[in-house]
Symmetry: C2
Subunit: 215 residues, 2 copies
């Protein structure tokens, strides 16, 4: 059973969002040096309020990650007008969004935090990030791939494999190297190459899965 994501119903008040913003900022700046005292001071609120609103430190962390992760937006594609051109542009848009997100400091911080969390028995943060990261992409991309197959634009047996190949072609070793703090991969350095990488990944994906007319 997948994790219940209930952003819509569980709305935060503006004041609470300010607190969450402060928490996220601290997380991004300070690594995991996120202490309740620091958040309270940054947000100009009392620790008692934090505990009242979020229960405990984990609750604050979860709320922060959940609130931020839900902000990631996926491109929407009209499946009814699928042509080779539209398909390519859609794939490029997915690749661009994916790369742009992954490279961002917020994403790096959230993934690091969730991974740190997963290193203990806790997996809630990992699930949230998964659900709003790789799995969200999978959910959005698979129908498009299948529609493209139906339109004879792509050929594959398993849409799952096709999605994962696309993911691999786009992300490559960028994410793990960023998470590990590879200094050879500065953010600006990677950002400058996003367009070229997007194009290359799409070309490669279409070369592998496209009907020959679309290569």
């Amino acid at each position: 059973m997948p994790v219940q994501i209930k952003i819509s119903e569980e709305t935060f008040t503006p004041r609470q969002q300010a607190v969450l913003t402060a928490a996220l900022d601290l997380l991004v700046e300070n690594g995991d040096g996120l202490t309740m005292t620091a958040v309270a001071r940054r947000a100009s609120c009392s620790k008692e309020t934090l505990y009242k609103w979020f229960g405990d430190r984990d609750g604050l962390l979860t709320a922060t990650v959940q609130w931020q992760a839900a902000k990631v937006r996926m491109p929407t594609v009209d499946r009814s007008h699928l042509s080779a051109k539209v398909l390519r542009e859609s794939l490029e848009q997915f690749a661009r969004d994916l790369l742009t997100t992954i490279v961002g400091e917020v994403s790096i911080t959230l993934n690091r935090t969730a991974i740190t969390h997963a290193a203990q028995e806790k997996d809630s943060l990992g699930n949230i990030v998964l659900e709003n990261g790789p799995l969200a992409i999978r959910r959005r991309l698979k129908p498009i791939l299948e529609a493209a197959r139906d339109a004879r634009l792509l050929r594959f047996n398993s849409s799952e494999d096709a999605y994962r190949t696309f993911f691999g072609l786009v992300v490559r070793d960028v994410q793990i190297r960023l998470l590990l703090g590879d200094k050879a991969l500065t953010q600006s350095n990677v950002e400058a190459n996003i367009e070229a990488d997007v194009k290359a990944a799409t070309d490669q994906f279409l070369a592998l899965y496209g009907a020959k007319a679309n290569i």
Copy 2:
């Protein structure tokens, strides 16, 4: 300048290796609940000895990761007898080793620890894991790819791009999902598919970069 890896000169005594083993075991079992007291108790040594040998907690952690990461062995390929068959087998061997390593609990733990570490200003662990993970593969794979290009078995402009594509095709979303604790990806579950994934990734890589005779 890359990180200096000096395992060979900086040899640990058997007793010290036993301590490092205990530390690694605790790391794998307990997530990052690695306390000096726990290591001392597990290894039946005194905390004073730990501090004497490793300086501080970070030193112990670094020694553990470094010692373990250096154990990863890469396949060696004879570049002089490169045929299409040998190339394919070499690529499959790389893919197999990479996947097998990534899936292992030790690798997951080490990567998580290094990423947690990188979330603070510390990047030493990240560098060690990088150097013995992705970058080690790059170092070993690139010469082979270039030799294959010289032998007209592969075609590409940038061996860097070729390596990164190979990495992406092999790893896909497996590593990040494992790091995030995706329960849909049990270790045994993934292990069962390694052979098929290895073959698929190699096929795809050769389809993209192989001279047509080798597809």
